[in-house]
Symmetry: C2
């Protein structure tokens, strides 16, 4: 289980095509994972996700731990059964959410204490606890607990934090027993300091994880810095293991990340944009609320083959957005996820056919507006 086969390496870039085996099916990489924070991809039925071609979704340990709680998900028979999704699931460790959502957090060697953003109740995540919760959830891929370093952070703090993240990674690996059914990924931290990231990557690789993630990126830094960190770290990650860039999913970053050697991505942008009435079209982001679409009876993107573009016009979607109708979020989320997955499918095909750079160039010249 969890074998990762690299099928093709691009001869001109670091891009690769692969297949990761999991207990709930194979994942063809590079792959975009829609996010189902609270055990639902907001506004999209599981059947629709399958129709769209979603191979794996991500869900959040932090959120599910607080609500409904791991006992309920365990009693339900695990997260797959609870939410009616029989394809692979990846859960993060909660590290990022503790640092971005909770109040009054206090970090120590033991773990991180925090107050719930829902009711203020006090909790502690230790590496062992993060693994225990994810074991209860039963996700196919689980993540080690890490500290997401704020940007900017001084070198000394970043170094100290990264050392602790490494010790936590080791504790997670020791705590994780269910290795047949759940793969544990380590997370490379190090702030925006290339040497710290390299050191972190090397030491995680020594511990031998099933896959390696790049965490603590896309936290406010310029994109150039994000790309630099990928480029610095990539040579130290084993080619035969999957690499996952956490929380990154704008169209340009998906392309650039793949070219930089990343295999897996997730982002809430696709559904969050949708709830704000914004959709992907021709590599751009368009705002359906705008008056220019009031009598535009063409689809969001006339080259898109999705259910939404086959059946609905921008004028109708604009009406739904303006009227604050649930269907607006439903339809635009569907389209945005489809659009992103199609971008990645096309990229995968391009890598297989040695057209990687042509494909990326086409989109980069289209996507100035969403960089």
């Amino acid at each position: 289980m969890f074998e990762y086969k690299v099928i093709k390496e691009c001869s001109k870039t670091k891009a690769r095509v692969g297949v990761l085996s999991t207990p709930h099916g194979e994942i063809r990489t590079p792959v975009f994972m829609p996010v189902g924070t609270q055990a639902t991809v907001k506004g999209v039925l599981p059947e629709s996700l399958k129709e769209i071609g979603a191979q794996i979704i991500l869900s959040n340990t932090y959120h599910l731990y607080l609500r409904p709680g791991m006992d309920i998900v365990r009693k339900a028979g695990g997260l797959h059964k609870f939410m009616n999704w029989d394809r692979p699931i990846l859960t993060d460790s909660g590290g990022y959410q503790v640092f971005s959502l909770s109040d009054r957090r206090k970090i120590s060697e033991e773990g991180v204490e925090f107050s719930s953003h829902i009711d203020g109740s006090k909790h502690i995540f230790t590496p062992e606890k993060a693994v225990e919760i994810q074991n209860a959830l039963g996700s196919d891929i689980i993540m080690a607990l890490d500290e997401c370093i704020a940007y900017p952070a001084d070198y000394e703090y970043a170094k100290k934090s990264t050392e602790r993240t490494l010790r936590w990674a080791k504790r997670c690996k020791e705590a994780h027993q269910n290795t047949e059914k759940q793969a544990l990924f380590g997370i490379v931290q190090g702030g925006m300091h290339a040497d710290l990231r390299i050191e972190c990557a090397k030491r995680l690789v020594e511990m031998d994880f099933v896959g390696y993630a790049l965490g603590g990126l896309s936290v406010g830094e310029p994109k150039e810095l994000l790309y630099e960190m990928i480029a610095a770290t990539e040579p130290y990650l084993p080619k035969e293991k999957p690499r996952y860039l956490m929380g990154v999913g704008s169209l340009d970053c998906l392309l650039q990340g793949t070219v930089g050697g990343i295999d897996m991505f997730d982002c809430v942008m696709q559904t969050r944009m949708a709830r704000n009435g914004a959709a992907f079209a021709k590599g751009q982001r368009i705002h359906l609320r705008n008056a220019q679409y009031s009598e535009d009876f063409s689809p969001i993107d006339d080259e898109c083959n999705c259910y939404v573009c086959q059946n609905y016009t921008k004028a109708y979607l604009r009406h739904l957005v303006k009227a604050n109708e649930i269907l607006a979020s439903m339809l635009i989320s569907y389209h945005n996820i489809y659009y992103t997955i199609q971008l990645m499918e096309g990229l995968r095909q391009a890598i297989l056919e040695e057209r990687t750079l042509e494909y990326v160039d086409k989109y980069f010249c289209l996507t100035n507006a969403i960089k």
Copy 2:
């Protein structure tokens, strides 16, 4: 077009089974029509509505006139095409919404002036305008403009208002030219005064509409009074024409109304309840937010065959409701509409098989909680 065939009359009650032909297909009665106020049944895809078995939906002239406006719907090719629904649509005249939603309305012989609940802008609905808008929308069944009399109302006002509604009905009939593609229904008013309702029904029947609606009911009166008004009016409505009880759709009222000789019903309750986390189960209304469902891994109703009951537990739905997730509204709306349509399908079958009263009795003893 618009032929109404009564297939079976119950020998013990006034219930009937029929088929109404429209340009977008046949409607088997008795029928429950889900409401798509703003050109969408809140939280439910058109494909899901078909899967559920919805034969016809209702949409609102008042809302669509204000937003997106009739010109946009006309340019889109009509409401069916605009909203991706190819089965029959009924639109109301806007009369009820003007009286329940708008501000500063002023009624005169000419029509009703009102201010938009969206932006305060001033408008006037005349009988001719209500027909013109519905002609632009292209709905299969359109309704005459009426005044919905508040409850309680004194006899003199109800009489004066009902006379005006009759004059408006005549003007609507004269204004409606597109009779091949759109059927105009008259609306019986008269407050809670049986003699006024009888007089109104008689005079509408003289004008010869395609169908007849009972309006101004379920406006705060006791249910006994609602049933009395149906019983008083029914004998004066021609048996060979469809009868429509507007805005009524609780389970007991659907059964009682059908037994009283009504063929068509609509209600927002099914989707509104869903958005508040309430679902139909065993003829009752259950509140999924309640703690008792936190570890209840059974479906909403274990006798229900809908997609939701086949795939989701109360514990999961409770989680979605508590987490304020869009999917909660989507799934519970689906179930509530399915449940209601199944109730009516079962009732139709019972009428055909001379089991009407047994069927109704079974549900009435179940539905005390939702009367």
